[in-house]
């Protein structure tokens, strides 16, 4: 396995942060509508974990999907265009923020029914095994990585997914981003087992990791992916903290500004920046330069979305079925 390129990871994390800040701006300007769930504060989880995947691996996630898409290498322009509801978007403007997808990158989409996509991810993993063992496709060695939140681990679909993944020994990594809240409900209020990985422990090995440390995240994700590829399901609980509201329209009555400020010391981008500076891999000046480059890229991204055409009205009636009736 190649050595982790921390500088490249840093840049991706800055890109995700900047993408999200631009989303917030464009939401305020009413160019983006609907629910907009930002990933600010959780960047190290996506960048660390998804960096452990190979091209043939698969990714399934929930509605807070911008960071996962960018970390998987989806182009920011069609993503922003999707948010603007434009025909150049990843879903041609039919899905919006919660439903980014790119089949060519095995990015199977963001799903907006909490907990449900764990079952689809389990099914994709089942199909990989079926293709290898029944259809004799020897090159089918992909692993599915499925992202979800702490709040998604209380409903029945969660338990059905981990139980069946274990029953069929599927190549899947369940990755819970524990950001301590399900919307406004704190962890200790929504679950009796606050160490989320323990909920899956009867079914598969797992562990809690520091999701704000991109190095630790990568290392443990590599272990998890390797386990999934060779042995079966694995569970990662990444501890992190969302620094913005649940969605862009969240007044955050459930916590104070001081609560949030107290957690800024855990900001994964600040932590990584300091680490890189300490290791002489980055200077303040270079960091500023990266910010500037990303800012410039994002200007072009927003411009692309702005200038893209809205979908033709006839698009409302396409792709209901895969062949017109």
């Amino acid at each position: 396995m190649e050595k982790q390129d921390l500088l490249a990871d840093y840049r991706t994390m800055v890109l995700i942060r900047s993408f999200e800040e631009h989303c917030q701006q464009q939401y305020t300007r009413a160019r983006i509508g609907g629910f907009l769930h930002l990933y600010v504060g959780q960047e190290a989880v996506a960048v660390g974990a998804i960096g452990a995947l190979k091209a043939q691996d698969h990714l399934v996630t929930h509605y807070r999907d911008h960071g996962h898409a960018l970390a998987r290498g989806l182009e920011p322009k069609p993503l922003m265009a999707e948010l603007f509801g434009r025909s150049t978007g990843t879903g041609k403007g039919k899905g919006g923020s919660m439903h980014f997808a790119d089949k060519n990158k095995n990015f199977w989409g963001g799903y907006a029914i909490v907990g449900a996509h764990l079952l689809l991810a389990m099914g994709i993993a089942y199909s990989i095994k079926y293709k290898r063992e029944v259809l004799g496709e020897a090159d089918q060695d992909g692993v599915v990585m499925c992202f979800f939140g702490d709040g998604a681990t209380n409903g029945g679909e969660f338990y059905e997914a981990v139980s069946m993944a274990a029953l069929y020994k599927l190549p899947i990594v369940f990755l819970c981003e524990n950001n301590e809240f399900a919307m406004g409900t704190p962890l200790s209020v929504h679950t009796s087992v606050t160490e989320i990985h323990k909920k899956a422990s009867p079914f598969m090995p797992g562990e809690r990791v520091n999701g704000n440390d991109v190095e630790e995240m990568r290392a443990r994700a590599l272990h998890a992916v390797n386990h999934a590829r060779t042995e079966g399901p694995y569970f990662l609980e990444a501890m992190t903290y969302r620094l913005r509201g649940h969605s862009a329209a969240d007044p955050q009555m459930y916590r104070t500004r001081d609560d949030i400020n107290a957690r800024r010391s855990g900001d994964p981008i600040a932590l990584l920046k300091q680490k890189l500076i300490d290791q002489n891999l980055l200077t303040e000046k270079q960091a500023k330069q990266i910010d500037k480059e990303v800012e410039k890229e994002m200007d072009a991204v927003v411009q692309f979305a702005e200038e893209s055409p809205a979908p033709d009205l006839s698009e409302a009636w396409t792709e209901i079925y895969s062949k017109p009736l």
Partner: protein, 332 residues
């Protein structure tokens, strides 16, 4: 032509699909060790091996999701849901996922999956004797087939498995043993095409699924009494093919809709609405609907028989239409 049961017709279609395409596999509760709850896939374990037909845990959402994910990644799962009563535990998977995937990701993914599920009753009481045909027929993105004859059961099952989109395949425990002519060779019945089973000039009876054998009986009895009824089998309730219904209705100007469901807000309500909106100029009498009485299904034999529709209910409704009576739907 061989005469076989509805159940055997399904078995032939499934066997053919399993033989021709290794991507097709069957999952469901008690499909292997119990040899399938209603015997449709009897013996398949021996024929196809344990990887092609698999017993699932009692986790309807779980294995529905397994099937959907596998279908998205190119396989052709056939999911047996034991009965429609239990399938509602997988509604999230079917409605929020299978039905929406293709559209909401801008056409990137397809979901070629078949969900088999029987309706039915037989002193099974309130939770085990229901019909949710309308739940699925309501949903853009799903196709819903409801065969009422062995011929259609085989042809529609073949079509459903070959279809690139999710298909809800609603069977009925009350007709697994009805017999009919079914060719041995391979054929498909197109999804989304209604079928005029009998032409007639006095009234158009519209039905599907379990009501078809009852309607056929009713039509015979009515004929012996000098009433010439047409019978249209919808066969698919989404997409709905109204043309054969309207064509007959333009001649008869009268209609009875016979569906085995609670009448209010049912599939039959939609057929009636379409007859009013699309066939208004041809309407000569109030339309009548036949369905369950609107009560939870009772256990006692006499009560159950009292609240379910049969051939006599269809005959009575036809006579009411011909007499120009209006129908009042009772909800309590």
């Amino acid at each position: 032509m061989p005469v076989i049961t509805y159940s055997e017709a399904l078995r032939q279609a499934l066997r053919e699909a399993m033989t021709n395409d290794p991507r097709v596999f069957i999952i469901g509760e008690d499909v292997v060790h119990y040899d399938s709850a209603y015997g449709v896939t009897k013996g398949f374990l021996k024929e196809f091996g344990p990887e092609r037909i698999k017993d699932m845990p009692i986790a309807e959402a779980g294995y529905a999701g397994l099937g959907i994910g596998a279908a998205m990644n190119g396989l052709r799962p056939v999911v047996e849901m034991m009965t429609t009563n239990f399938a509602i535990l997988a509604l999230d998977m079917i409605i929020n996922h299978a039905a929406k995937l293709h559209y909401m990701f801008g056409g990137q993914f397809t979901c070629p999956i078949v969900f088999r599920m029987p309706n039915g009753y037989g002193q099974l009481s309130a939770t085990h004797s229901q019909a949710f045909d309308n739940y699925y027929a309501y949903m853009p993105g799903l196709k819903v087939v409801v065969p009422g004859t062995p011929y259609d059961a085989k042809g529609l099952m073949k079509a459903a498995i070959e279809d690139p989109d999710p298909v809800i395949f609603i069977e009925h425990t009350g007709i697994y043993n009805i017999k009919g002519e079914v060719p041995e060779e391979s054929y498909t019945v197109p999804i989304g095409k209604s079928n005029l089973l009998r032409d007639g000039k006095d009234v158009t009876i519209v039905g599907y699924g379990r009501m078809i054998p009852y309607c056929q009986q009713a039509v015979e009895t009515l004929a012996s009494e000098g009433i010439d009824a047409a019978l249209v089998d919808l066969r698919t309730i989404r997409p709905l093919d109204m043309e054969p219904v309207l064509e007959s209705f333009r001649k008869t100007n009268r209609a009875v809709i016979a569906t085995e469901e609670w009448t209010s807000v049912g599939v039959g309500s939609e057929i009636a609405a379409r007859l009013y909106t699309e066939g208004f100029d041809h309407l000569d009498a109030p339309i009548w609907r036949v369905g369950f009485d609107e009560v939870p299904m009772p256990y006692a034999k006499n009560l159950e028989a009292h609240v379910v529709p049969n051939a006599d209910s269809v005959i009575q409704a036809v006579k009411n239409v011909l007499a120009g009576k209006t129908q009042k739907i009772r909800q309590q």
